[in-house]
Symmetry: C2
Subunit: 433 residues, 2 copies
C-alpha cells in the first residue's frame, strides 16, 4: 500500500522559509510581551467537549473536530448521536481553555494574571485560500484587572509588537458592548433581539447604512426603530465630518463620543464613554508604534462573551483586519461561580505571516551560514578534521552545514547559495595547498 503524501484537507505543511519567518515573529512577540509582564502558558490542544460546547464560542462551536471515545467507553451499538461517541474535542480558540486554566490554577497564579498564549487551534471551516483548519493564535489576556489599565496595556503591548515586526500606519478600532447596547435600547429594539441587530450592523462596511436599515426591517424590527438606529449612525458620521477631515483621529473620535454622550444620556451607564475616552487618550500619549486609536461604533465582534470594550486591528492599506479582542468579565464565573474581570487581545498571527511572506520579509541579524563540501574520497582522518573544524565554528555561533560534494559542484553551490550559504570550504583526500 502506498501512503498519502498530501497533508489532510485544509491543513498545511510549513516549509523551511516560512518556518524561519514564523520563528522570528514568535521570538519578537515573546520578547515584547514579556517586557509588558506577560508570562507564557500552555494548555492541552484537547478539551472536554462540555467546555467546547458551552455556548461561549458562537459559530465556532459548529466547527469542532470531535475525538472518538477510547476503549471501553465507546459503545458503538448503543450510540444514537455524535454526543454518545465523543467526550473530547480540539480547541477552536485559546480563550475558553485560558479561562478553564485560570479557574483551575487561580491560587498559584499572580494577581492580576497576565498570560501570553501562542498555540494552534482547529476549526472545520470550508477550506479556502488563506484560511486553514489548523492555525496559530497568539493571545494576551489580563485576568483580575477591573480598570481600564488592562485595555491600555493590552493595546500598547499589541501595537508595540506589531511595530517591532515592521508594521506601521495601522489602526486599533475600539468600541464598547455597552455603547452598542445603549444605541440599540435608545432605538427601541427589544433587548432579547439585540444580538440579531448587531449581526446586521456588522455588515455595515459591506452593505452601507441603507443596506443595514433595509435588512433590519426585513428581519422584523420595527421601521421606527430601524430609522432611529440608522439616524444615530448618520449623526456619528456628521459629528465626525464636522470635526473636519484634517482634524485627526483623536478630534473626530472626541466629536463622535460627545455626540453619543448627549444622545444616550440616561440610557448608558455614565462612566462608559469617559472611560473609553481615557483609554484612547492614554494610549495616544504613550504609544511607541506608528498607529492611531479610532472609535468605531460599528464594531460588533462575534463572540457573545464580550461585556465591555471591544477592539480590532485594521490595516487599511491591506483592507484586512489583523486581530481583535475585548473585555469578558463574566466567563470565569461560568467555571467558578464567581466573576473575575478579564480582557484579552489576539493578534492574527497567520495573516501577519502571510503579509510578511508576500512582502519578501528579510529576517534581521541572521548568523553567518557556512558550508563544508566533502569530496567523496575523503579519508576518515580528513573527515574527522573537517567535522572538528565545523564543531569549532559552531562554538562561535556560526551555522555550518557539512555535506558530501556532488558531481556537479557548481549547481550544488548555486542551490546552497539560494539557501543563504555565503561561504564554502572544500575538503579533499589531500589537504589543499
Amino acid at each position: 500500500m502506498t501512503l498519502i503524501k498530501k497533508p489532510v484537507t485544509g491543513m498545511k505543511d510549513i516549509l523551511p522559509a516560512e518556518m524561519e519567518i514564523r520563528d522570528y515573529c514568535i521570538s519578537v512577540i515573546s520578547k515584547t510581551y514579556a517586557e509588558f509582564g506577560f508570562c507564557r502558558i500552555e494548555t492541552p490542544c484537547v478539551e472536554s467537549i462540555e467546555n467546547l460546547t458551552s455556548k461561549q464560542g458562537g459559530d465556532n462551536e459548529k466547527l469542532i473536530f470531535r475525538i472518538l471515545k477510547r476503549g471501553e467507553k465507546l459503545k458503538l451499538e448503543n450510540a444514537s448521536s455524535e454526543a454518545d461517541l465523543t467526550d473530547l474535542g480540539l480547541r477552536y480558540d485559546l480563550t475558553v481553555p485560558l479561562v478553564r486554566y485560570y479557574s483551575e490554577h487561580q491560587s498559584e497564579l499572580p494577581v492580576p494574571f497576565k498570560a501570553l498564549q501562542m498555540g494552534n487551534v482547529w476549526r472545520a471551516d470550508r477550506p479556502q485560500k488563506g484560511r486553514y483548519r489548523q492555525f496559530m493564535q497568539c493571545d494576551i489576556d489580563i485576568i483580575g484587572e477591573p480598570t481600564d489599565l488592562a485595555e491600555i496595556e493590552l493595546i500598547l503591548a499589541t501595537s508595540t509588537t506589531l511595530g517591532r515586526l515592521g508594521f506601521g500606519g495601522f489602526q486599533i478600532r475600539i468600541n464598547e458592548r455597552r455603547i452598542l447596547k445603549a444605541m440599540a435600547a435608545y432605538s427601541g429594539f427589544p433587548a432579547e433581539r439585540f444580538d440579531e441587530a448587531f449581526i446586521i450592523l456588522d455588515k455595515m462596511d459591506k452593505i452601507g447604512i441603507e443596506g443595514v436599515s433595509k435588512e433590519l426591517t426585513e428581519s422584523g424590527f420595527s421601521e421606527d426603530s430601524a430609522a432611529r438606529y440608522c439616524e444615530l449612525f448618520r449623526g456619528l458620521d456628521a459629528a465626525s465630518a464636522a470635526a473636519g477631515e484634517t482634524a485627526g483621529a483623536r478630534a473626530r473620535a472626541e466629536a463622535e463620543l460627545s455626540y453619543l454622550e448627549e444622545k444616550l444620556e440616561g440610557v448608558i451607564e455614565p462612566d462608559v464613554i469617559p472611560n473609553l475616552r481615557e483609554i484612547m487618550n492614554t494610549v495616544e500619549k504613550s504609544k511607541k508604534a506608528d498607529f492611531e486609536v479610532v472609535f468605531d461604533a460599528t464594531i460588533v465582534r462575534g463572540m457573545s462573551y464580550y461585556t465591555g470594550t471591544i477592539f480590532e486591528i485594521a490595516m487599511p492599506e491591506l483592507g484586512i483586519s489583523c486581530g481583535g479582542g475585548g473585555r469578558y468579565d463574566r466567563m470565569v464565573g461560568r467555571f467558578t461561580g464567581t466573576d473575575v474581570p478579564a480582557c484579552g487581545f489576539s493578534i492574527g498571527f497567520e495573516r501577519i505571516i502571510l503579509i510578511l511572506m508576500e512582502q519578501g520579509f528579510t529576517i534581521p541579524g541572521k548568523p553567518e551560514k557556512i558550508c563544508f563540501l566533502l569530496d567523496k574520497n575523503l579519508s576518515r582522518e580528513r573527515l574527522s578534521e573537517a567535522i572538528a573544524k565545523a564543531q569549532a565554528e559552531r562554538e562561535q555561533g556560526k551555522q555550518v552545514l557539512v555535506v558530501r560534494m556532488n558531481k556537479n559542484k557548481k549547481f550544488q553551490k548555486e542551490q546552497l547559495t539560494a539557501q543563504g550559504y555565503t561561504e564554502f570550504q572544500e575538503f579533499y583526500a589531500e589537504a589543499l595547498k
Copy 2:
C-alpha cells in the same frame, strides 16, 4: 451549568515557571541545531488515519486518538466499526509525518534535507506519573544522506545541545539492527521470529541474561538457539571485561566489536561493524560535550522501521533514557515507491524538562524585572506618566509590570519578589519627593 476546570485526563496545563524553562530549552535547541544546518519545519497535528495505521508505528498505533468524520461523511446508522466513523487522527510521533512531508515536498527541499521538528504528539497511554497523553517531541532527521556522516552529525548535534542545557556525564548507546539480526541468525532463530526475540532481549536490563534465556525457551525458541544466543552476550561481557574496567569506553567497545567481527564473520555484511567503529571514533574526536559513545548490543528500539544504526541517550546517574533514534532507509519508499536513506535522533524533551525542574534550574541571562505600583487614587495624568515611563524602560529591553497597588502593599511586594521582580517604583496621586 458549571464548566469543567480540570484539563482532560492525562494531559496537563503548563504553569508559568515550567513554561519559562520550556521556552528557554526550545531556544537553546533551535539555536544549536541551526548551527548544524538543521532547518525547522512543521506538519499538521492531524494526519490521515491510513498513514497513522500503516504499521510504521508499532504499539503506538493502538494508542491513536481518532477524530470523528465531519458532516455528511458521518453516517452513524451504517457504521459498524470505528473505521467507518473516522478518517483522521492525532499524530503519535513526528517521524511518519516527516516522511509524508518529505515525500510531498521533495522537489522544494535541499539535498540532503536536515529537518528539526518540535511539536506535540498524542498517545492514549494509561495515565501515570510523568507520562502524559499529550507531550512534546523534539526530532532531528537527515533525509538523503546514505553515509555515516548522518549518524556522526546527529550524535554531535544532539550531544552538543544536551551539553549546552547543562547535562554532562551521559552516554550515547549505539547498536545496529544488522548486528541484532546477524546475532539472531547466528543463533539459528527463524528469520520471521527475529522481532519476537528482540522484544525479549529488550528486557535484558530488567531480567538479566538468565531471564532472557528462560523467556526465549518459554516462547518456543529452541534451547540450542537460546543457549547459542546467550553465549554471544556472555562473550561480549567477557571481551569487555578483558579490556579492563579502567580501559575506557572506547577500548571496551573495540574489544566487543572485534569479538563480534570474529564470531559473525560470514553472517553479517562486512562493512557494518567497521562503519559503527568509525562513527564512534569520529564522534569521540570531535565532541564538544561531556559524554561517551558506548556500544550496547542489547539496544533494540521498538519501532519496526529501523534498518541500520540505532541509538539511545542514557543518563546513568538518573537511571533513565532521554531520547533515541536510528536509521530508517525504507520508510520514504512507502510513500513514493523509491527508497531514500534517512536517519533521525529524538530528544526526550519532557524528561529533560522534568530533570531541570527537579534540579531547580535557573535560566541564565534573564532581563531585569521591574514593577510599577500605582496608587488607586492616581490621577489620569499621573497614570499616563507612569505608563509612558514604563514604555521607555521597555524600549531598553527591561520587563516592566504595571499594576494597581494593593491595600497590603508589603504582601504584594513579597509575592512579586517571588515572581522575580527586583525593583519597585511606586506612583501616588502626588509626585513623590
